[in-house]
């Protein structure tokens, strides 16, 4: 049995021209983390809110832990769904202490634990949760006296304390500073894995999605473009959008041939099932391109970006096409130098047939 099953989910807002969520389907296994990733306005947060029961879908169904939570004829309110939600702004209750915030979900009359909990049972659960997130020394504090990272931890503890069958996280790290974000996501992933939680995680940051997700679902304009393991999404992007969004790809034009793809910087010996002489684009990232100084080469160095351990060079091919390439920091080439660029990827590259407009 799947923990979450979403089928043909559609949600349209009155003022918007396109559906916010358009016929979306996916499913989660027990203990799995699915990252919904996409640019802002792509429908990922709406999908999350529909699963939480904070919005009502127009059509489609949501099944949580085997019971129908939403369909055309049925709508289970959020308090009956047994999901934990971590909000973008954390949404800690400002009038309650850290302890009471975490205990809030334990007093409830949730359908799955109707017998009610004893006071000391609540006490232990809250203490355990706060210890798990490393906040057991600050139980008496009020949210306004906490740092961003501490609030984050309390929000997570609050969502996890009632042992929800499904944890939903809406860009939980976006309100944190960059360095805190890196630290928190590692901690949070460890905690979620330790609790064996099933998680839907929403983010617009592709790197964060790759780190957090066991699988990724890339959203665009209310639809899932591709769903799969992080490596699959990154290396075998199904659409040009996914390749572009997930990893700063350049798109090198080419022509499909039997023996490979002919491009400005040489033939890519890559088998394909494209029609002969079809116009294609090859998604290439900076790590797929190498170049050597060559006065009679095919490109000029347009700019160099120093990134610490390595340099990123921007190359302008003679056709005007821009490509990027990594080089270790020991080797410095001046801007304006002539070079010869070639594809050096050790794996097949994603190729998209060009749609002529």
């Amino acid at each position: 049995m799947k923990t979450l099953e979403v089928q043909n989910l559609t949600k349209r807002f009155v003022a918007a021209p396109h559906p916010a969520v358009n016929n979306v389907s996916f499913a989660l296994e027990d203990g799995e983390i699915l990252a919904l990733v996409g640019p802002s306005g792509c429908g990922k947060t709406t999908t999350l809110r529909l699963v939480a029961g904070l919005d009502r879908p127009d059509s489609g169904s949501i099944t949580i832990n085997g019971s129908l939570a939403a369909s055309e004829s049925r709508f289970l309110p959020p308090e009956k769904r047994g999901v934990g939600l971590v909000f973008q702004d954390h949404a800690l209750f400002p009038h309650l202490t850290v302890f009471d915030n975490v205990a809030f979900g334990l007093h409830g009359c949730r359908a799955t634990s109707r017998q009610g909990r004893k006071r000391d049972e609540i006490q232990t659960t809250v203490s355990d949760m706060l210890r798990l997130v490393g906040m057991d020394s600050l139980t008496k504090r009020y949210p306004h006296a906490l740092s961003g990272g501490e609030r984050q931890r309390v929000a997570l503890a609050r969502a996890l304390a009632p042992r929800p069958v499904l944890v939903l996280m809406d860009e939980p790290f976006s309100s944190l500073d960059a360095d805190m974000r890196l630290e928190m996501r590692e901690q949070v992933r460890d905690i979620l894995k330790a609790m064996q939680s099933t998680v839907v995680f929403v983010t617009h940051d592709q790197e964060e999605a790759l780190f957090m997700g066991d699988r990724l679902a890339v959203f665009q304009r209310g639809q899932i473009e591709q769903i799969g393991a992080p490596e699959e999404i990154f290396h075998a992007s199904a659409t040009r959008f996914v390749a572009e969004f997930m990893g700063d790809s350049d798109f090198l034009p080419g022509l499909a041939r039997l023996e490979g793809i002919e491009t400005e910087i040489g033939l890519l010996p890559q088998t394909n099932s494209l029609p002969h002489a079809a116009q294609v684009e090859v998604a290439v990232r900076a790590d797929d391109i190498d170049f050597i100084p060559d006065e009679s080469g095919n490109a000029t160095i347009a700019a160099r970006f120093f990134r610490g351990a390595f340099n990123v060079y921007r190359l302008r091919l003679d056709s005007g096409q821009i490509l990027h390439a990594f080089k270790e920091h020991t080797q410095l080439l001046r801007v304006g130098a002539r070079v010869r660029a070639r594809v050096s990827a050790g794996h097949p590259l994603a190729v998209f047939q060009k749609i002529n407009s």
């Binding site: 807002f13 003022a15 918007a16 916010a20 802002s40 306005g41 947060t45 709406t46 939480a52 029961g53 904070l54 919005d55 009502r56 309110p77 959020p78 308090e79 769904r81 999901v83 934990g84 939600l85 909000f87 973008q88 702004d89 949404a91 209750f93 400002p94 009038h95 809030f104 979900g105 409830g108 009359c109 949730r110 609050r158 969502a159 009632p162 939903l168």
Partner: protein, 544 residues
């Protein structure tokens, strides 16, 4: 200002529309709208002959009188209010902190008490100052008449400028230093900066303050009646109280409410989207301007103003109260007025105002919640409707309620509850604004968090929303309490025979010329009003 809903760039939508909430809000809006509509119905349905007669005889003169007074008081209050706000917020005026309080506290003194004191001190025959001058010089010295337009304009300005003072003071204060610094860095002189950056940013505060003053002047009865300057309010009151001419009163009320709606509409139009008095987290106050050799003059000016609007009235009331208490004959009169004692009418004031505050806040909640959580044309319209109380002067509310209650619920007629209803209708806007801003500060995600943690919407209301908005609601309630306590014309017209409040008692004594007997009640009224006022002021950034 266009009322169209802009499509949100990101489709955040809260929980599905709640029918219970919509029903409650609809009922409240109906309750608020009916008295207003009824006045228009009666005004338009009045005898055409009455209309003609009034148009030929009264309306234009009243219109002229009323509008000149509104214009004079509003501009006076703007000049004084902004000037004082600038002095206490932006200069090194000595004693700024104390002056802030003294410039705000005149709000606790109803203007008609100011007018009573003004009359007692300055009236040509028997006034304290003319008498004193006569005894000092041996012959009568002519003093300016306290009556008429200038008297009314002076008194109303003295007791209404604090509205502008408070709002522009808050705006001066919340202004981030960086805006002025940016202007200076872009090559503007300090003087240009003041006119091009500082003052424009004050616009929302100034407009809101001017609106409050203008509407209050339109509604003012006691001051203009005492100082014999006829405006719509006092004319309507005379029609109702003396002549029982309800048809003429309805017509004049219709015109007055139209004027007030015009003012309200103008404010909304001018205000536009301009709401930029937001305090930022890294806020840093603008540096103070050294007054230099102007310091003495500024101090003198401020002291003079504070004396006229606060210190002298308080001092006179104290002295007279002392005289009343020390004189056994006067004391007996004070404590046994009519058939009731002093404690009785103090209690009447308290319970009617407190009940009005409670009701106004409770009733404002559904509408405020609806417009805060489900913004749409309809909900915004409902919220606007709850603001119309501002535009319905006390005399008009009284007239409308007299007519409505007589016709539809005669059992309520001549009970104190009609007085309470009048207070609620008149002061609902204050409660509505407070509730709206309190609810607006509770992020929707807090309520959603509560729902996902297993609470129903009703449990969420009681366990999350209400605890968070209580301070804001208390402030709204305090404001309604304060203004209800001071309310005079509706109380006079609607109270059952023998039902006296502090305000009524002060009025009755003073209009019979018994100033000293009126003093203890007036002093108590001012002191009781001062409590909720100082609670409200303490919430403001300016008074921390």
């Amino acid at each position: 200002m266009s009322l169209t809903t802009k499509p949100l760039s990101f489709p955040f939508k809260p929980l599905p529309f709640s029918p219970r909430l919509a029903l409650a809000a609809g009922l409240v809006a109906f309750f608020v709208a009916v008295p207003l509509m009824y006045i228009f119905i009666r005004a338009l349905g009045a005898n055409p002959e009455d209309w003609l007669r009034l148009l030929q005889t009264r309306i234009w003169r009243l219109m002229g009188n009323t509008l000149t007074l509104v214009a004079a008081v509003t501009s006076g209050a703007l000049v004084i209010g902004v000037g004082m706000a600038w002095l206490t917020e932006r200069t090194d005026l000595p004693g700024r902190k104390a002056f802030r309080w003294m410039l705000a506290l005149p709000l606790a003194i109803p203007a008609y008490i100011g007018a009573i004191l003004h009359l007692a001190l300055l009236r040509p025959r028997g006034g304290i100052i003319p008498q004193w001058l006569e005894s000092a010089f041996g012959f009568p010295i002519p003093t300016p008449s306290p009556l008429g337009f200038w008297g009314a304009a002076f008194i109303l300005t003295m007791f209404m400028f604090p509205y502008v003072y408070l709002l522009s003071g808050a705006a001066f204060r919340s202004q981030h230093a960086m805006y002025e610094e940016a202007s200076r860095a872009l090559g503007r002189s300090p003087w240009q900066t003041f006119w091009q950056v500082t003052l424009p940013a004050l616009r929302p505060g100034l407009l809101a303050g001017a609106l409050l003053v203008a509407l209050d002047v339109l509604a003012e009865y006691g001051t203009v009646a005492l100082l014999r300057y006829e405006t719509f309010s006092s004319a309507i009151f005379a029609q109702l109280y003396g002549r029982y001419d309800r048809s003429a009163a309805s017509i004049l009320s219709g015109v007055l409410v139209s004027l007030a709606m015009l003012v309200l509409w103008a404010e909304i139009k001018l205000q536009g989207q301009a709401r930029f008095t937001q305090m930022e987290s890294n806020w840093r106050p603008a540096p103070l301007v050294p007054l230099g050799r102007w310091k003495f003059l500024a101090l003198l000016l401020t002291l003079g103003l504070v004396s006229v609007s606060l210190l002298i009235p308080l001092l006179v009331l104290l002295v007279w109260s002392g005289q009343a208490i020390l004189n056994p004959e006067l004391l007996a009169q004070v404590f046994r007025a009519g058939s009731q004692g002093f404690a009785r009418f103090a209690w009447n004031s308290l319970w009617t105002s407190a009940l009005a505050a409670l009701l106004a806040v409770t009733l404002s909640l559904p509408v405020a919640r609806l417009s805060a959580r489900y913004p749409s044309r309809l909900t915004r319209f409902l919220a606007r409707l709850c603001q119309v109380g501002y535009a319905i002067p006390g005399v008009v509310i009284a007239l409308s309620l007299v007519l409505l209650v007589n016709r539809f619920i005669p059992a309520l007629y001549a009970t104190p509850f009609v007085v309470v209803i009048a207070y609620v209708l008149r002061h609902m806007p204050q409660a509505a604004r407070a509730s709206e801003s309190a609810l607006g500060q509770v992020s929707a995600s807090l309520e959603e968090a509560s729902r996902t943690l297993g609470r129903t919407s009703l449990q969420t209301l009681f366990q999350v929303t209400l605890p968070l908005i209580t301070p804001g609601l208390l402030a709204g309630g305090a404001l309604v309490f304060l203004t209800s306590l001071k309310e005079l014309p509706a109380t006079l017209l609607l109270r059952p025979a023998g039902f006296d409040t502090l305000a009524v008692r002060v009025w009755v004594w003073a209009s019979d010329g018994f100033y000293i007997q009126a003093a203890p009640a007036a002093l108590l009224l001012v002191l009781v009003s001062g409590l909720p006022l100082s609670f409200l002021l303490r919430r403001e950034q300016m008074f921390r």
